[in-house]
């Protein structure tokens, strides 16, 4: 038997290397960290949405056995403000202190923190803190908040308007004038809660001798969080070590810097003992960022043949009462993606961003882009309905052709590559669309309510070029081959469920001719890993993975030079394949990458000017974003008697460019679609008129469960990205972006015989039942 080529792993559904610890309960999340002499913290949070703090009495709390300290806003004045990394011209930024001092602005606003010997004592003491509040009038509606007659939240501004922004290119007025039809629709993207299954949590430990603070925190951005907390605490950044152990989901909610992270660090320094705080689910719903929160008005102009001439989107964007890390930036992402996958000559977005007496909004999976896709896809459906055309026809009419890429939009972007027809055709074929429409006709004749919803989406991923990112958009990687030949990969893109330990090891396996298990991927410890950005914005693979690939190329270049030296041949003649260096100049000889690694470390004989060791780093800066796309089709049947929605089929064809591990890609798409079902049908953060959070537990905030979802039928097309050498585009948010409009569209389509053209999310059976009842013959 001859020598077999080492089998390539990229493109294969390799089982995850991180799973054995996770399926056996052997992984370590923040709450699993136990340190000697550890204290426990608990927060007192505001029960009012808007109130002046007249007095706080902590006497009784301090007397409780086991209580070590109680801190209020007066005690933590030296801690710097919670940072906001986004900047919009002329925006008003309220100072966001870590604890409320004079006023509370939302239910859940932290007012005091107790540090105690046990978590029981800490929680008991919280109940003994007496706060005298003067309750103030409340504003919770993002549109009403802009009304000058509404109560002003941050008095120093004299208004609740945080900023106004107009974005887009082209002459929208001319486009509307040229239109045969103009269609207008109010569109809601309600507030959602990200609900990572692992709530937030922090453990802080301070060594006064070394003056070193270590923070274990559940975050998507270890290095950015370290920098921010160091600034907040006024300590040297290089004395703060931040470790993210296993992270139990993020979905954007842990792409942030929270007050609790700084307070815990500070409290550990005060106590001289480690302190732990684990967020409860109720706290998570109150005081971890929410997503979405847009009340919008879309206006779309079209010709009678379906050609879109202009789009305007006027939107009130709900900021909540403060800015978190990226709060004001989220609506700008909506503005970027309003063109969808269509040629629209003129687009304008007018944002009024308002403060409300609610928790801050920020990045929740998709972060501004699901809103845009929902708006443009709903608008495309409205055009089809107005013109009596098939929604597929309207979409085809406005697609750019594959040879038109890079495609410039009127929102100022250059889409890297795409074949929107290809994905649409594939999805239509999977669905047997023509037959489906015939079935629908038949169903309607029988009095059944069947609907077909289509969404053709494009999204912006691999965030992103540093020029467009608040804190740099590059990513880092270091690859080392250790003396024994094992490979160590350090990535700045700290993951939280994406499977990077496997996919990055696959990239290394193919590049180095080693096995996936020969590599270990280390992330999330700022004392070990070089500075990095993190995992969000579908960038883990398409930026972080590319950094690994780049570092591997540098490493191979050095290894090749050393191999040539070892083979005694000219470096230019050396070839590397299957983990071995060979040269036509020395046919009988070969050296393995492992032998080269050992030689590099022993350093007995190195080429002139070569340093010992075998390690390379890359700080990869992407030239552009990437633009994955696809088509989703949902088929629904509605129970006339109950309004219940039965999704019989769900088809998704996604194109995320080159796939490293298709199993992980499918997993991302499944999860994204599930969250779309959540937004479309179940989820909504509800505050009442007094600003009380009605959806304060998982009893009230409805997450999708297994039995509420159909089987997803997935396929893909592959249009490689020209932006990076892997050709990968990213897939983390695709499902959440592409699916929501398809689901809503299906329900609207089912009810279209009643003249229905739009229904707001979440579409609950009651709403549907009311529509059926109102429109049925014999209705009262």
């Amino acid at each position: 038997m001859g020598l077999t080529m080492a089998e390539k792993t990229v493109g294969k559904p390799i089982k995850r290397t991180e799973d054995p610890r996770l399926i056996q309960g052997l992984a370590h999340y923040v709450d699993d960290i136990r340190l000697p002499d550890m204290l426990h913290a608990a927060f007192l949070r505001s029960i009012h949405a808007h109130a002046r703090i007249k007095k706080i009495d902590v006497t009784a709390a301090l007397k409780l056995p086991g209580v070590v300290a109680v801190y209020t806003g007066k005690d933590t004045q030296k801690i710097g403000a919670v940072p906001c990394g986004a900047a919009i011209p002329d925006m008003k930024t309220p100072e966001h202190k870590v604890l409320a001092t004079n006023k509370v602005y939302f239910v859940g606003h932290p007012v005091a923190v107790v540090v105690a010997e046990t978590k029981f004592a800490a929680r008991d003491a919280v109940d003994l803190i007496d706060v005298d509040y003067e309750v103030l009038p409340v504003v919770t509606d993002e549109e009403k908040a802009a009304d000058p007659k509404s109560p002003v939240i941050h008095e120093q501004f004299g208004t609740n308007i945080a900023y106004k922004l107009t974005a887009g290119e082209g002459d929208v007025d001319a486009g509307m004038k040229a239109a045969d039809k103009i269609i207008k629709q109010k569109i809601l993207n309600k507030r959602l809660a990200p609900i990572a299954m692992e709530p937030r949590g922090v453990v802080a430990r301070y060594f006064p001798g070394e003056q070193e603070l270590t923070l274990w925190t559940s975050t998507q951005i270890p290095h950015l969080c370290r920098t921010s907390v160091a600034v907040m605490l006024g300590m040297p950044e290089n004395k703060l070590r931040l470790i993210t152990p296993e992270v139990g989901g993020g979905f954007g909610s842990k792409l942030n810097v929270y007050a609790e992270e700084a307070i815990l660090g500070w409290a550990a320094m005060q106590a001289g003992r480690p302190v732990k705080w684990i967020e409860g689910r109720r706290e998570n719903l109150q005081a971890t960022i929410h997503g979405r929160g847009q009340v919008g008005y879309v206006e779309i102009g079209c010709k009678n043949d379906g050609t879109i001439t202009a789009l305007r989107y006027n939107v009130f964007a709900d900021m909540g009462s403060y800015f978190q890390l990226l709060t004001p930036a989220i609506p700008t992402l909506t503005g970027l993606m309003l063109s969808g996958c269509y040629k629209i000559p003129a687009i304008q977005m007018n944002v009024v961003a308002t403060f409300t007496n609610k928790m801050s909004t920020d990045a929740y999976r998709g972060a501004g882009r699901p809103e845009a896709t929902y708006v443009i896809e709903r608008a495309a459906d409205l055009v089809a309905a107005e013109l009596g055309k098939d929604p597929v026809e309207v979409r085809r009419k406005n697609f750019p052709q594959p040879n038109e890429f890079p495609f410039k939009t009127a929102t100022g972007l250059f889409y890297d590559s795409g074949n929107y027809q290809g994905a649409l055709d594939k999805a239509l074929k999977m669905a047997d669309y023509t037959k489906l429409r015939e079935e629908q006709k038949k169903a309607r004749k029988e009095g059944r309510l069947m609907g077909i919803g289509i969404s053709t989406y494009v999204e912006i991923c691999a965030l992103g070029p540093s020029s467009a990112m608040p804190a740099g958009g590059w990513e880092s990687a270091t690859v080392r081959i250790e003396p024994t030949g094992k490979v160590t990969i350090l990535t700045g893109a700290s993951p939280h469920g994406q499977g990077e330990e496997t996919s990055f090891a696959q990239i290394a396996a193919d590049e180095l001719g080693v096995s996936v298990n020969d590599s270990t991927v280390i992330h999330g410890d700022t004392a070990v890993v070089q500075y990095g950005i993190g995992t969000f914005g579908s960038r883990g693979l398409a930026v972080g993975g590319v950094a690994v690939y780049m570092a591997l190329q540098k490493l191979k270049t050095k290894a090749g030079k050393l191999a040539a030296h070892m083979l005694g041949v000219d470096a230019g003649t050396v070839k590397f394949a299957d983990g071995k260096f060979t040269s036509p100049a020395a046919l009988s000889k070969q050296v393995t990458i492992q032998e080269v690694a050992l030689s590099a470390h022993l350093a007995k004989s190195l080429p002139e000017d070569m340093e010992p060791g075998l390690s390379a780093s890359s700080f990869y800066e992407p030239k552009n974003f990437t633009f994955p796309f696809g088509t989703h089709i949902a088929v629904v049947e509605i129970d006339r008697e109950t309004g219940d929605l039965h999704f019989d089929r769900y088809i998704a064809v996604d194109d995320c460019g080159k796939q490293i591990n298709p199993m992980l890609v499918h997993g991302q798409v499944h999860g994204g679609i599930c969250q779309s079902f959540g937004q479309a049908l179940f989820e909504e953060v509800v505050y009442d008129e007094n600003g009380q959070l009605v959806t304060g537990t998982l009893m009230d905030y409805a997450l999708p469960k297994a039995a509420m979802l159909p089987h997803f039928q997935l396929d893909s097309t592959e249009t490689p990205s020209p932006v990076n050498p892997l050709g990968a585009k990213g897939v983390g948010e695709a499902g959440t972006i592409g699916a929501t409009p398809a689901i809503v569209s299906a329900v609207v389509d089912a009810l279209s015989p009643f003249g229905i053209r739009h229904i707001d999310m979440p579409i609950k059976p009651e709403t549907v039942w009311q529509i059926i009842r109102k429109n049925s013959a014999g209705a009262a």
Partner: protein, 161 residues
């Protein structure tokens, strides 16, 4: 007033003095240091804390440790036998039934219970059986596949016996 309890967890019998208000999940995690069982909601909705008590899958955040006195408890750490993964664990690994892994231990315990009661479930039965367990990452589809895979493994094992 503290209370003394005797509980056998993963085959080891423990005697501890506990506060009467201590939850079973706190006992498992904080007294026994078995941290594979997670807390996700504290209101018995998410199922991350699911363990077996006397062969029944229960949400350990809604049971007092005192109530488990005299019971036999199996946690995720006790599921693999002799270094061999339980078929449900193996199924989750093979079918990518987990991403962040936080809900996974509870999900696996609940799935194991489903298969105990119904060795040959339909996809729909699995979905209904998992209604007490929330996952935010996977969209459940691969979890359903994982449980089906485990069912097959268990069947072929019992045939082999």
């Amino acid at each position: 007033m503290k209370k003394t309890i005797n509980v056998t967890v993963n085959g080891v019998t423990h005697q501890n003095e506990i506060e009467p208000r201590m939850l079973l999940v706190q006992y498992i995690r904080d007294v026994l240091n078995l941290t594979g069982t997670h807390v996700g909601c504290e209101t018995s909705l998410c199922g991350a804390c699911t363990v077996m008590v006397d062969g029944q899958a229960v949400k350990s955040c809604t049971v007092l440790a005192a109530q488990a006195d005299g019971s036999t408890v199996t946690t995720i750490e006790g599921l693999a036998q002799g270094g061999e993964l339980h078929p449900v664990q193996a199924g989750f690994w093979e079918h990518h039934g987990l991403q962040c892994g936080y809900c996974t231990p509870g999900m696996i315990m609940a799935a194991a219970q489903i298969l105990q009661r119904n060795p040959d479930p339909t996809d729909e039965e699995i979905r209904h059986g998992l209604e007490g367990n929330l996952c935010r990452c996977t969209g459940y589809q691969n979890i359903v596949q994982a449980v089906q895979c485990a069912a097959k493994k268990m069947k072929s094992k019992s045939v082999a016996r």
